[in-house]
């Protein structure tokens, strides 16, 4: 594998390069400076983020400083990296040294980590510039970015609608041209679902391929960081940059992460593609139609496309909503007012803990802490957490069987396109159903990617999902690149930077 080292990298990969790779090529060639690029994107944020609210903090000073360092490298003849000068928007649940990292929660308001997440270090080492931190559902718990303590993020295709979530800020930043690429985290669909609703590419890697060090944990066994980009090529480039073993994360796989950019132009001739019935039944007609059209396009490009049923996937959502809150209830215990973040004073330590958590967490976070605490309680553990883990095994086995017959699986990313702000806030179960197509990949630890594929009758973007087995990123990107090339052209968002 030649990865990014080949001549002309990172322009080497075929397919649509996209804005991030255009910038990198220009900055590397010296035709545009990183500083100019940063200023242009700071201007774009200034222009449209007042309406969309994708960012919780914009890093004018540090972004300019980082850009200066990249430009100095270029001037000095040093390799500035494959993402030289590319501004990146980072979901605000990834630690950035000395820069507030809030998880969009009051309980962490103003908290500045003393260290950078591994992915942030790797992006910077590749020449990327952190331009801002993006809004999310508090602690990544939600599917609409409405559960943020710092305000709702709006969908640039229709500001009356949600962008999806929890990585809604990151999806909007890319969709509206405020950042050429962004990082999100995906616990049950939190990258792919907002990507689908905003019309960008969102990818969740194989569990253990991207370090979680510095990602504020929601559900540790499900969380994975991944890119939100304009194109599949950019997604593969970012995955290659941020992936790879990290001694600071024990759950990182010890085997090398496959390089993906070189697989992009191999086509789908002879590949076996399974259209998963459970990932299309019950979805909106427009969404179902897009999946069918994508499948047809793959068949037209030479793939062997068949329908397949994996009924075990139907148990994914209930299992997910046991496992994720259970782990979250433990992961979020540390916000107790003792060491950092919010503290609400009270007479005793115990009362201080309770008052701090009561004031610091929003209603959805509290709901999940309660759910998770219950699921782990003595006498209920086996019936809930134990049972959910068994379902997880069941899903892994069922998918393994499917991958005996297919190289990749495809389906919808979301059952619907973007819904109206406020439509589901009072109905948690309706909101949770937004994740029904995405949670299986998290439960199994498998990679999956959402690619924009046209729009519904209202002009709202639709995402088609390609799923692959563990470490199947190369074939997943290979198929995704073809889906992308066959996709109907999506109208630019209504709100977009000039």
């Amino acid at each position: 594998m030649t990865g990014l080292g080949g001549p002309g990298a990172p322009g080497a990969p075929s397919g649509r390069p996209g804005p991030a790779l255009d910038i990198a090529r220009a900055v590397r060639a010296g035709s545009v400076s990183a500083l100019e690029t940063v200023e242009r994107y700071l201007g774009a944020i200034e222009e449209v983020d007042g309406e969309l609210h994708a960012f919780v903090s914009v890093l004018h000073e540090s972004a300019r400083r980082e850009a200066g360092a990249v430009d100095a490298k270029v001037a000095g003849g040093d390799d500035p990296g494959p993402l030289a000068g590319v501004p990146v928007a980072v979901k605000d649940n990834m630690c950035t040294r000395g820069i507030p990292t809030t998880c969009s929660s009051r309980i962490l308001e103003g908290w500045c980590p003393p260290y950078d997440a591994t992915v942030v270090q790797r992006l910077r080492a590749a020449g990327a510039i952190v331009i801002g931190k993006t809004n999310l559902d508090e602690f990544a718990m939600g599917s609409s970015t409405e559960n943020s303590a710092f305000g709702v993020t709006r969908n640039p295709h229709d500001p009356g609608r949600v962008p999806g979530g929890s990585s809604g800020g990151s999806a909007v930043a890319v969709a509206a041209g405020m950042a050429p690429l962004a990082l999100g985290s995906d616990t049950g669909g939190s990258i792919r679902q907002p990507a689908a609703l905003c019309g960008v590419v969102g990818m969740k890697p194989t569990y253990g391929t991207v370090s979680r060090y510095g990602l504020v944990a929601f559900a540790s066994s499900l969380d994975q960081i991944g890119p939100l980009t304009t194109t599949v090529t950019e997604s593969a480039v970012v995955f290659d940059v941020i992936g790879g073993q990290d001694p600071l994360d024990s759950t990182c796989l010890e085997r090398p992460v496959p390089r993906t950019v070189t697989a992009l132009d191999e086509g789908v001739e002879g590949l076996r593609v399974g259209v998963v019935r459970e990932l299309v039944e019950g979805v909106d007609a427009g969404v179902g139609g897009a999946v069918a059209a994508a499948a047809e396009a793959l068949a037209g490009a030479g793939a062997n496309v068949e329908e397949v049923s994996v009924p075990e996937l139907r148990h994914g959502l209930p299992a997910y909503y046991i496992v994720a809150p259970a782990e979250a209830s433990s992961n979020l215990s540390r916000y107790d007012g003792v060491r950092y973040g919010l503290r609400v004073e009270a007479d005793t330590a115990e009362a201080m803990n309770a008052a701090t958590r009561a004031a610091g967490f929003g209603p959805e976070v509290k709901r999940r802490i309660l759910l998770g605490t219950y699921a782990l309680s003595a006498g209920y553990y086996e019936a809930y957490y134990g049972q959910a883990q068994k379902v997880r095994t069941l899903i892994i086995d069922a998918l393994a069987a499917a991958y005996q017959r297919f190289d990749v699986l495809v389906g919808a990313t979301t059952p619907t396109t973007a819904f109206a702000i406020g439509a589901k806030v009072d109905d948690p179960w309706a909101m949770y159903l937004s994740d029904v197509c995405t949670v299986p990949s998290n439960l199994a630890g498998h990679p999956a990617i959402s690619i924009p594929f046209g729009s519904d009758g209202s002009g709202l973007p639709i995402g088609v999902q390609v799923l692959a087995p563990a470490l199947g990123e190369p074939v997943m990107f290979q198929v995704a690149a073809v889906v992308e090339s066959e996709a109907p052209v999506l109208a630019p968002p209504r709100v977009h930077a000039p």
Binding site: M94, C95, T101, C103, L108, W111, P113, P114, Y115, A117, R212, Y213, G214, L215, V216, A217, A219, S220, S221, P247, L248, D249, S250, T251, A326, E327, S329, S330, S333, R334, D336, V338, R339, Y340, T348, A349, E350, N353, T373, L376, S377, A378, Y381, Y385
Partner: protein, 488 residues
């Protein structure tokens, strides 16, 4: 002591049989903490050995210290445990000194299971498990009542947070406070011998909790137990168990019930007081720690660790006892042997005995003098020590002079002959000794007559005078021999 109740060897007390199990936490003396590279050190200024991981900062992740696993395996192997593939769990509860508000511990898949520990009295206590976990920080409650609920404020030092611990859980095989002390002391010796822990109860690097219940002698069903915490020395372990047995027997004899609860030993008042009952017990909501992967020590690693283990205290005691011949040694010698092994000084004794020094002499010097300065004694030049023992054995130095030279040898090192010469120390020859003894008798005719008449305690009177007159140069045994010779 417990109200003068008669006790039998088995610990049975007034028709009741105590049933005791001990849970011992020991800190592993690794260079770094269990899940991060912070220094594992006792006594550093508060909050100086901390990092994002051991502070549980958002986003941080644990990475297992392989050396800690190796130490845990050493302990398991020394306790004849089976080493198994193990899994870390999270034990969830809120406490300010616990950075993540959960403790990473091992729950239903501990690394060491089903071993045993043989005590010097030949009894055997089965080990249920010896698992790994992380220590918490340390809270100081300032002002008010000095407890978490009534203090003005509290300060937390997280230096200890994340220090590796092994918790060794015995089966309820212990039947008396004495046996409990023996178990704790033998276990401490084993921990030290493995090199995994320094086993200091005073510094808290070894902490003992006791589960105590009583049942009618001769029955098998276990009584309701109480767990006693805050036992900071072998002495308090013994006292607390005695108190608790007496308290429980008192309750049962009065027709009351023992309530299952955790009790706190109050050293000053000599009582245990209830902390919380079973109903109030935490639901720890254990579940597998998703940030760590299972630990599966393969056979190769296990045998590597086994091969790195030196002999355990029991074997080392046997080796010293063997210097005295095949018959069992007496109580006094056995105690000296235990002391020497406890302080890791058996090497001195075996080396000197191997060089022809009388084992009794070198054992006594090592147990009585060298063991008082164990750190220095472990560093002492063995050849110099043997040379000194030889000088005493050959009568060139008296016992008192030998002790003086040994003191300097331990403190500063050097050549014992040169030390003796510099200090003007040499044993009196027999002729000079006879003169001094004769002079002493002459100066105390009345006492001498009484000694001649059989008042044996005056031996000490005369010996003391001779020792003073010779500034310790005389050998006590030689003086006694001369006095007996003169008495005729």
């Amino acid at each position: 002591m417990s109200g003068g109740r008669a006790k039998t060897q088995s610990g049975e007390t007034g028709g009741w049989e105590p049933v005791i199990g001990l849970e011992v936490h020991c800190e592993l003396k690794t260079q770094t903490k269990l899940f991060c590279s912070c220094r594992n050190a006792f006594g550093d200024p508060p909050n100086t050995n901390i990092c994002p991981v051991c502070l549980g900062l958002p986003g941080s992740l644990p990475v297992l210290n392989i050396r800690a696993v190796e130490y845990a395996m050493r302990i398991g192997l020394a306790l004849h445990c089976e080493i198994r593939p193990s899994v870390f769990h999270r034990k969830n509860y809120f406490y300010p000194d616990m950075p993540k508000d959960y403790q990473v511990s091992q729950y239903d898949a501990p690394i060491n299971v089903e071993g045993w520990l043989e005590l010097p009295d030949d009894s055997r206590v089965r080990i249920e498990r010896a698992h790994m976990e992380e220590d918490t920080g340390k809270t100081s409650h300032i002002g008010g009542g000095g407890r978490i609920h009534d203090a003005d404020h509290s300060l937390v030092d997280y230096n200890r947070a994340g220090v590796p611990l092994v918790e060794i859980v015995s089966k309820p095989d212990i039947r008396s406070s004495g046996q409990a002390r023996l178990y704790a002391s033998e276990l401490r010796g084993i921990l030290v011998a493995t090199g995994a822990s320094d086993g200091r109860m005073e510094e808290g690097s070894m902490r003992v909790d006791a589960n105590v219940s009583v049942r009618p002698a001769g029955t098998f069903e276990l009584g309701t137990r109480c767990e006693i915490k805050n036992l900071n020395s072998l002495r308090s372990l013994g006292r607390a168990i005695e108190y608790e047995i007496e308290r429980q027997v008192g309750l049962l004899e009065a027709g009351d019930k023992v309530i299952q609860q955790t009790r706190h030993w109050n050293e000053d008042e000599g009582v245990t007081v209830a902390l919380r009952s079973k109903e109030e017990a935490f639901d720890y909501r254990y579940f597998p720690e998703p940030d760590l992967v299972p630990v599966v020590p393969d056979a190769g690693w296990q045998s590597e660790v086994a091969a790195s283990l030196g002999p355990m205290p029991a074997e080392r005691r046997d080796k010293l006892a063997a210097l005295f011949g095949p018959e069992p040694v007496g109580r006094a010698v056995a105690d000296q042997i235990a002391t020497v092994v406890e302080h890791g000084l058996d090497g001195l004794v075996t080396a000197a005995a191997g060089a022809g020094i009388d084992p009794g002499r070198v054992l006594a010097r090592t147990a009585n003098e060298a063991a008082a300065e164990p750190e220095a004694a472990r560093r002492v030049d063995v050849a110099a020590f043997i040379a000194l023992m030889r000088m005493e054995q050959e009568g060139k130095l008296s016992a008192t002079q030998t002790k003086t030279v040994l003191g300097e040898l331990l403190e500063h090192g050097g050549d014992p002959a040169e030390i003796a010469r510099r200090r003007g120390l040499e044993a009196l020859d027999t002729g000079s000794l006879s003169v001094v003894v004769a002079e002493t008798i002459a100066a105390h005719p009345e006492e001498w007559q009484r000694f001649v008449d059989g008042e044996e305690k005056l031996m000490g009177f005369f010996t003391g005078h001779v020792m003073r007159a010779t500034a310790g140069q005389a050998d006590g045994k030689a003086v006694a021999a001369e006095l007996i010779r003169l008495r005729g």
